[in-house]
């Protein structure tokens, strides 16, 4: 039986090709939900928010450069690991999301290093809310992918 002339097989072959294109790395398509990436983003969010809390003015607190350097190093490693993991999933949208957050963490560390002072309370409250929004957007970016729980 010739695939070119048999109608059912011709339709099937066409659909298989379409499915292959759809599931290949075509730029139109995004990779599926990844539990590990979701967990990495939520873990980074918790670390970053605690970092801001730790380096915000408060009763009995003072600027500690060595503590800042240590927290910055620990964070840097976490972000590098998350970026490497995202790159391994071969989807630029995921890498872009993590790189954005990594850049914010680096910027916040550098702001503290330049000022040699803790964040002011009012500023910190706004910064905390804003970086929280950024993480929520990145986490949502994982949760809207095909195969996400509840999708």
């Amino acid at each position: 039986m010739n695939i070119r002339t048999h109608p059912t097989r011709r339709i099937t072959a066409t659909l298989v090709v379409l499915a292959a294109v759809a599931l290949s790395g075509c730029a139109l398509f995004v990779s599926s939900y990844d539990t590990t990436n979701f967990e990495k983003l939520t873990s980074l969010k918790a670390y970053h928010l605690k970092f801001i809390d730790d380096f915000t003015e408060g009763k009995g607190k003072s600027f500690d450069r060595s503590a800042l350097d240590k927290a910055a190093d620990v964070g840097e490693l976490k972000f590098r690991e998350a970026e490497e993991y995202a790159q391994g999933l071969h989807d630029q949208t995921r890498v872009t999301g993590v790189q954005n957050l990594h850049g914010r963490f680096t910027a916040h560390c550098n702001t503290l290093k330049r000022s040699n002072a803790l964040f002011h309370e009012e500023f910190s409250k706004e910064l905390r809310a804003e970086i929280g929004n950024n993480y929520d957007e990145a986490i949502k970016g994982e949760k809207v992918r095909p195969g996400a729980p509840g999708s």
Partner: protein, 108 residues
């Protein structure tokens, strides 16, 4: 003090155009359909007022505005993912149902 009172208190005529442009963009953002655009308008207004009332300094205001720019980039990236995921689900669903069920029912 609200944002109009703040803008009216700026008497430098060289800033008239910037004041009008700021007000136009702020109104547009707050009237946008998307919650994100409205929220951005409200946040920028709040931070400018906080600066005017000396609750934050100029550097902090600049940092917060820059922060929002990066959140906006994240938001747009997420919108891109969501849009493409939706299309992908529809197309894959269409192809799967055709391959799995429909072909069997077509008499050829």
């Amino acid at each position: 003090m609200n944002i109009d009172e703040l803008l009216n208190s700026i008497k430098d005529q060289a800033l008239d155009s910037a004041k009008k442009e700021f007000k136009d963009y702020l109104t547009q953002a707050k009237n946008e359909q998307t919650a994100y655009a409205k929220e951005t308008g409200e946040k920028v207004e709040k931070w400018v007022l906080m600066y005017a009332q000396k609750q934050i300094d100029k550097t902090e205001l600049e940092l917060l505005l820059d922060e929002r720019r990066w959140t906006t980039r994240q938001h747009l990236n997420t919108l891109d993912i969501a849009t493409r995921s939706r299309v992908q689900k529809i197309l894959n669903g269409l192809i799967d149902i055709t391959l799995d069920a429909l072909i069997a029912g077509i008499k050829v």
